[in-house]
Symmetry: none
Subunit: 245 residues, 2 copies
Amino acid sequence: MNIPRLLVVDDDAELRQMLTQFLQQNGCIALPATNEADIQKHLAAGRIDLILLDVMLGDENGVEICARLREEQSVPIIMVSALSADSDRMAGYAVGADDYIVKPFNTELLLARIRAVLARARRTSSLAHRRQKAIYQFAGWAYDSKRNEVVSPEGYQVSLSQRETMLLQAFLANARIPLTRQEIAVALDVTGEGDKTSDAEGRAIDVLVGRLRAKIENDPKKPDMLRTERGVGYVFAVDVVAEDD
Amino acid sequence: MNIPRLLVVDDDAELRQMLTQFLQQNGCIALPATNEADIQKHLAAGRIDLILLDVMLGDENGVEICARLREEQSVPIIMVSALSADSDRMAGYAVGADDYIVKPFNTELLLARIRAVLARARRTSSLAHRRQKAIYQFAGWAYDSKRNEVVSPEGYQVSLSQRETMLLQAFLANARIPLTRQEIAVALDVTGEGDKTSDAEGRAIDVLVGRLRAKIENDPKKPDMLRTERGVGYVFAVDVVAEDD
DNA sequence: TCCCTATGTAACACTGTGCAACAGAATCAA
DNA sequence: TTGATTCTGTTGCACAGTGTTACATAGGGA
């Protein structure tokens, strides 16, 4: 198992220093950050397993930052705050924080919660770091990722374009989980370079989904597997069996 | 979007009753349990999205149960306890609890944390143990939650919109229990992000009910199943049988 | 009976989605 | 290189899903 990489976001230099040091001593890689721009930089630069986010960041607001991060990332976030009022905690949870810790906190407790969140993320980890399986089967279909072939239940071979293949892979890896256009765009943008929003804004995703439907749905007009979740995105609504090679 | 199914584990009958009722009123399906055997039974019987686990269970110990569950299941667990000492919380997190709530707790906060954990699980979960009741039968009708199809007694297939489906699910989960508009609005807004009152204030619910009636009632003018409870809300006045897949 | 309130619902407006048609980019064959 | 073919994003339009509004109607008490 890899050493966890944490991002410590706090505008109080002393506390930040203390926290990073403490975490380093406890087997983590702790990177300091002071504002949203910092966070984005780190996220772009490399893997971050968890963000420790202070709610009060001078002129920025941790809750808002958390909400924005959630829109595009699924990196776990623990909010840290001096505010213990229920309404504050609820605000934290509402924007998708994974946990909420009130200052001053017992450092051991902090570690325990970090471990809990990391363990959960690992247990359920999604798109990114998952071992590549070779053959996927779903609803009679088979997709061989090695040969990049798709075979229908009747035995016909269907050829998918590169883009369609990537889309199918994204769905196979997230069977039964609704994906937003935003998420799909990110999944399709493997380089991580391009402007992730560009795809999601237009209708490119819709059209692409339509094209995939045309190839793998029995009746593309009434999608059975690749369903629309209005106002959300799309779900691959079948069970997928993945086999090692 | 499915209605979350929670398991409320507590040996105090009164508290258990209060909790399940509160959760039902807030758009969840809440199932009561008193001990580990109960939990195992429910897990084996059908889909459970989250377990609310009291730490003190008479002669059993919630922390140990949690640890055992963690070994084989990845179902999210929120521990509930009267103990607030840091060491106790750490014990909870150490065995893999997703959250830890101290009694007495604000019920709104409880809801917020349940939503947070559910949202997290939904975002990332990929494991396939979403074994759920697949088919509901009522008054000759059948609703297949897997294919999301409704079939009339005569065998005609009826297609419901997403919203209508959610409404039907809410009624199926609360057959014979009158639901207020407020409760229905909450059930339709499982994510809890939107303003829950918005739906209930206007006539949106009424219109939606009308549309569902138009599709599943024999004579929509004289509703047989989906009855109006004047001054209260609506009741689904038929018995519902749920079958495993 | 009248009156007031709750409910039913048609009509409308707004938004999200499906998709055909088009155009530029990429790939391939010769 | 040229021309054909395939891939892929964009655009525009039709339509479906859903909430709102306005008005009709039903219930129930005085």
